[in-house]
Symmetry: C2
Amino acid sequence: MARKISESTIRRLSLYLRFLEEFEERGIETLSSEELAGRGSTTAAQVRKDLSLFGSFGKRGLGYSVQELSATLRRLLGLDRPWRVALVGAGRIGSALFAYDDFRRRGFRIVSVLDSDPGKIGTQWGDVRIQDEARLEQVLAEEKVDIVILAVPGDAAQHVVERVVSSGVRAVLNFAPTKLHVPGQVALRDVNMSMELEALSFALAADDGPGA
Amino acid sequence: MARKISESTIRRLSLYLRFLEEFEERGIETLSSEELAGRGSTTAAQVRKDLSLFGSFGKRGLGYSVQELSATLRRLLGLDRPWRVALVGAGRIGSALFAYDDFRRRGFRIVSVLDSDPGKIGTQWGDVRIQDEARLEQVLAEEKVDIVILAVPGDAAQHVVERVVSSGVRAVLNFAPTKLHVPGQVALRDVNMSMELEALSFALAADDGPGA
């Protein structure tokens, strides 16, 4: 079933969960699809359609149970268990990701950091010691890594991801500014910060018109 | 016209441009929609459909001119001019973004960095001196900022973005882990790194099945 759920649906599920958690904190027990839609940038019909993909929630006239729905979304998003994450690349982006509290809060634990720079190998980040990227395959196996975050230079990324995939890891979050090729059974997400800025410059350029 | 172009189309245009630049470097002068599609994760029909939105390119049997098409895409994506960017938040993520070479290469120049931490205000990052976030409105005006990158904590982000919007800035790239609300005429992109990881844990959890 998972393969048929679009990326934008998954993104909305993540957003719904965040809103539900805010409602939970405020002690609210039920809410309507309108309320859930109102916080996001979507419609009540879209909320109902998204949630109906995963079974029947909510009772007509009563709305959704905040607790039940957030537990279901956590389970669907795989947030009901911890995940072991390895970070490849201990540069500035890697260091920012390592310190990113929200990962830990969501159950994503960075258990290994690897780099190829001899000046970094062996140094300590919190309770993690940076390991030699040459030992990537062994580290991924020893640490039972579920997810790899790639924060290496663009020209190194394809080679590294092939080693990651051949080690049996099935999920990769790529920060290298390049398009990676992985087999179909591997889940890959790209965070390309220049492309995000380009979506903004596209909007600004279109507003200004040609030659502005 | 810009308003009708979907986010996923814009993302593909950015990808096409990257492939075209690789072809340019290798001295290749023309290429087919099949070749362009082959490098991405799309089809030749999709390439032709995307490009036809912006006029008529390519000649039957001859393919697209690499130079002409990349120049057009650069213009469409607003990459034929420099953009002045302010970074609000000089923490770890801010520091990684400031050092991100690919921004500069694409014409996105970080001209101002602001933070509210007295220990950071007045310190120097390269040729930029970190300014007091209290002076946000003045700095955005003085520096003629086009785009703001928000790398502040989640609970501060909505207040900061309202000040940015009221200063007349029309494009915001948000790294704060929260959903921001901005008027319709403001272009907003979110980079939520936890949500990217959740898309991966969703895929892994779905593969494993319930209770795995």
